[in-house]
Symmetry: C3
Subunit: 142 residues, 3 copies
């Protein structure tokens, strides 16, 4: 095993979303990236370089959870609400601030250490679009 | 002092919550872990592997702040609101997405570098339960 | 180029806010810090040690986006709402929990890797005040 000092080069994942608002699971894509890069033990930082989508970790077993999250966020931040931004997507910018655009997760023994029911999601708030997810980390490589 | 390359092994803290919704301060448990591991200088990443609780940093001096946070989150995301998830805890999943499940904090000279009024809280949204908090970091050990 | 093992010492940026609630862009201040410290490749962690402000990454091109974010957060968490905290700024504490107080961003080739439309903002919810932003990271220095 080779010890890597500092951090891995940034990698990009592409995600195609298909609706205006939806949660798209990216856990498998992140896992495949770990394997491809031979990452054994690390802190991974995941980042979206967009201002109308976000990142979240939540339940990936029952799809009704995703629906409830999207639906309630739409109540809290409605699409139309006397916004001043002229592009008609202020709701998406605001939801992006609420969910956030960066996450940190752990890798040990070559595996993502998520909780039993957790998956990693890109939160699309102004799709459909092609989105990028950036990943960088520090740790051990084989 | 020994320079550690890469990251510390992940550590786990257990937190027992006693109500359905509450903020439980975990600052002292995190500080004790630092001392136990001899961590002098680091970036610590804190993570909850659950989908119905979250993490927050906020005021730990006046307990009324915790009450107001819990109370307002309950207005923004009510327990009953035509959710489709059958387990009756969609509100907890949604609040977990809003607060987030990962935090990064700094350690210098063996001490957590929090602001004067800041404490670290596990945000319980579907308790009482036994919760885990995972901690991993990179930096210097004595 | 010299390889730095572990992490950089924490740096502080000062931000003077001028209104009770506003988003103040700090991207340029963070970029100048990178140059001053000669940081080439890193994961930067940005942190506010306060309990009534937060951090966000969002659009910095059209100022109407900032206005809409501030305005909608004020609807979701009104200034007066039967709060129990006696200092009259419970709304600021709650908004701070919703936006969060830590962010992680990437540096490559000496440049902040933000998306095309992204800027880094201190979210003031109880100003005007003098605020600190703390920055620490791991990576390569020239």
């Amino acid at each position: 095993m080779i010890l890597i000092n500092g951090d891995f080069n940034m990698e990009k994942i592409t995600v195609e979303t298909s609706r205006r608002t939806e949660l798209v699971e990216i856990t498998e894509k992140v896992s495949l990236l770990l394997k491809k890069k031979g990452i054994r033990d690390a802190i991974l930082h995941i980042y979206v370089p967009h201002t109308t989508c976000g990142l979240a970790i939540n339940e990936n077993a029952d799809p009704s959870v995703k629906r409830d999250i999207i639906s309630r966020l739409g109540e809290v931040v409605p699409r139309d609400a006397n916004y001043t931004h002229s592009e008609g997507n202020s709701d998406a910018h605001i939801k992006s601030v609420l969910t956030g655009c960066s996450l940190s997760i752990f890798v040990e023994d070559g595996l993502l250490r998520l909780g039993t029911w957790q998956g990693i999601f890109l939160c699309e708030f102004d799709g459909p679009r092609r989105r990028e997810v950036w990943i960088k980390g520090a740790g051990l490589k084989e």
